[in-house]
Symmetry: C2
Subunit: 414 residues, 2 copies
């Protein structure tokens, strides 16, 4: 038996208790966690400093360091995030559907906790607090397997949260840190079928692919976003320019940033020079097709690899398409199924685009950046699902639950 197996057994016991814990008790524990995280700011920041020192010593790039780094403001931000989750409605107990069957049986489908959720994630130590709070509110125990680069930060945050659970009269094993010193602990977590009900990977494409390949526990794939903006023949070109710039440059390192631009041939002559200039002024490198390359020398010729790439940086691939179906076919071929935007005045074109692409979200005349749990009003987000099973798009508390059918009779037999 591995250490992960033992930890998962402990989490299962805690999950049984959590499933019967009333909302008020879960909320009180969340406030205790928020209080204690704030109170432990100095300790958390000090632990984080050792992680950052090790990372710097290993020559880690500054933008990875920035994701890892915690200061008092960032600790305060995730502690307040925990309080926000306490304020959200409890999904557990919701009657999803119910009816009296013809034979008099009362049938109700009721939302219940998932049980034990495994998180496997990279980089940001704030995920440790966010994920723990979301799982706790949704009535599930969580196994947190973060990155070894954030080991000291994560360990400290988990210690603080577990102590707060004890202080609140809830089982400390509702939140368990999984050691990150060996890759095998991640693999063991993915293979703990029967003990762990769901694994959610958060991180780069490589991590997600590995989890999908190796896991026997059901997985929800998150995050990879090769998002497109399609500028239709019927587009308002000023609006299109504004949306392309926002989707590409507002924040480049996030999964709902645009990575690829498609322009209908009918507006290419007018729009391509404008968008090339505007993107270049914003510091964006364009990887374009022949039309884009002909517009400006600085445009780099695009390959199929470019069209398939999630740059997460000031780069964009770009092409002119002859028709709406050609745009849809391009997106179906290269998209990761996250978010596609269309800029058009035509109801019919918007409808055909929406039906034609096969992605978690479609933005009509809006930036791809709006695919986000907070923007959608979910209050909390544990990731954005790019698969079709169980949850698709931003996942909040509801998506961390399952349901049970409760059927009540008075001696009914068949």
């Amino acid at each position: 038996m591995t250490i992960v197996h033992d930890l998962a057994l402990q989490a299962r016991q805690a999950a049984i208790v959590l499933a019967g814990t009333p909302t008020a008790a879960k909320n009180a524990a969340l406030h205790a966690i928020a209080d204690d995280l704030l109170g432990a700011t100095t300790r958390i920041v000090a632990a984080n400093a050792t992680d950052v020192e090790v990372a710097r010593g290993a020559g880690t790039g500054e933008h990875v360091i920035d994701r890892l780094l915690l200061d008092a403001d960032r600790v305060s931000a995730f502690a307040e995030g925990v309080r926000d989750i306490a304020a959200l409605p409890d999904p557990v107990g919701e009657v999803v559907r119910g009816s009296i069957l013809a034979n008099g049986l009362r049938m109700e489908q009721i939302r219940v906790p998932m049980g034990v959720i495994g998180m496997i994630y990279e980089g940001r130590p704030n995920v440790t607090a966010d994920a723990a709070a979301i799982c706790l509110k949704a009535g599930s125990a969580v196994l947190l397997r973060g990155s070894s680069s954030a080991a000291a930060s994560n360990r400290t945050i988990v210690e603080v949260m577990r102590a707060a659970l004890v202080r609140s009269g809830l089982p400390e094993d509702a939140i368990i840190g999984v050691p990150a010193d060996d890759r095998s602990t991640a693999t063991d977590l993915m293979r703990a079928r029967g003990l762990v009900d769901l694994v959610i990977p958060r991180g780069g494409a490589g991590l997600i692919r590995a989890v999908v390949e190796e896991s026997t526990v059901p997985v929800i794939e998150t995050g990879t976003g090769n998002c497109h903006v399609y500028v239709d023949a019927d587009a308002d070109l000023d609006m299109a320019l504004s949306i392309v710039l926002n989707a590409k440059t507002h924040r480049t390192s996030v999964c709902n940033a645009a990575e690829s631009l498609l322009v209908h041939r009918d507006v290419a002559e007018v729009f391509v020079p404008r968008v090339v200039t505007a993107l270049q002024e914003a510091g964006v490198t364009i990887h374009g097709d022949a039309t884009f390359c002909a517009t400006d020398q600085a445009v780099v010729p695009a390959t199929d690899d470019d069209y398939a790439t999630e740059y997460l940086d000031l780069d964009i691939s770009a092409a002119v398409v002859d028709t709406l179906p050609a745009a849809i076919a391009h997106i179906r071929r290269f998209s990761s199924g996250h978010t596609e935007a269309i800029v058009t005045r035509s109801i019919d074109t918007a409808r055909r685009f929406t039906t034609g692409v096969d992605s978690a979200a479609v933005m009509i005349n809006a930036s791809t950046r709006f695919t986000d749990g907070a923007e959608f009003g979910f209050g909390a987000e544990i990731g954005i699902s790019t698969q079709k099973l169980h949850a698709r798009g931003p996942m909040g508390l509801t998506e961390m639950t399952t349901t049970t059918y409760v059927v009540t009779g008075d001696g009914h037999i068949r």
Copy 2:
């Protein structure tokens, strides 16, 4: 590239067309399929006769032969089942939730087809028609990988259905039979991630385990049912007797049949002798604990293996438990998470049992046999999920869909 890869690509093309096909056209195709299946009864029964002959020649047991066998009545039954599916509401296009966000964006979560669904199944050739009809109505293309023992039956049924699709103006590749002559075609289907959106195994525990282990495509586990009946201290014992008998003997080969009986110690002295006699009179072999064994010589001593077994036959495991928590702990340990029944007059006990067990369905004062898509009024059932992700319990048309967020703005940027 394997044959399954090519077939999956064809299915994806058909799925794109299906996603934009109106309900009326899908329903017309379903009626055409029903008509043509009825019209081809002689041909289907003849093909089936060759499968049955091969199976008999291989010494296959009569109860497996019975599942395989098709006669005119059975063909008529599944053809009429296709018509019933045409009559059900179309899940595609349902607005699951929607609101105007604070910034004026209109956000709607809309039900859309899954895409391409792979079915891997054993035994009954009627699954070929049932699954194809459900997937078609839900707007998805289906890859049908049945048992090699039913190869001729399945091939003929698929041919008839594909011809009906062509006659109806829909792509014949919406329904594709996957050759069953080699195990590798099943493996290829499970590994066709990116081409196939969902795999559903239907069959014995071995098949389901293999699919879960090997699949990189998301899987919904179905069917294994180690279902319990718990007779509480507060039970109406006449009701309890009737429910135990019905749950065990009404139909033994199905996943919602009871396989295990738990009796509270307070009523054991009265109830155990009664239930032992009644079960034995119904031809049931009891695998019991010490109390049960002491009641009657014919009771076989039960092992942990018995408590873990889905007999699917006239056998039942049985034990006396000291408390409600002991009953819940036993069920958590041995159940497959399908259906548990409790017989009790106590609201509080029913509530604690419902929260305590961790199964797809809980029956309060009703037989386990009611966990069924038809009984629940779903009209069609593609299987009963025993996992927590996406769908839990009987799965109908709705469970064969996913959703997309469609967000409409007028140039919104962040």
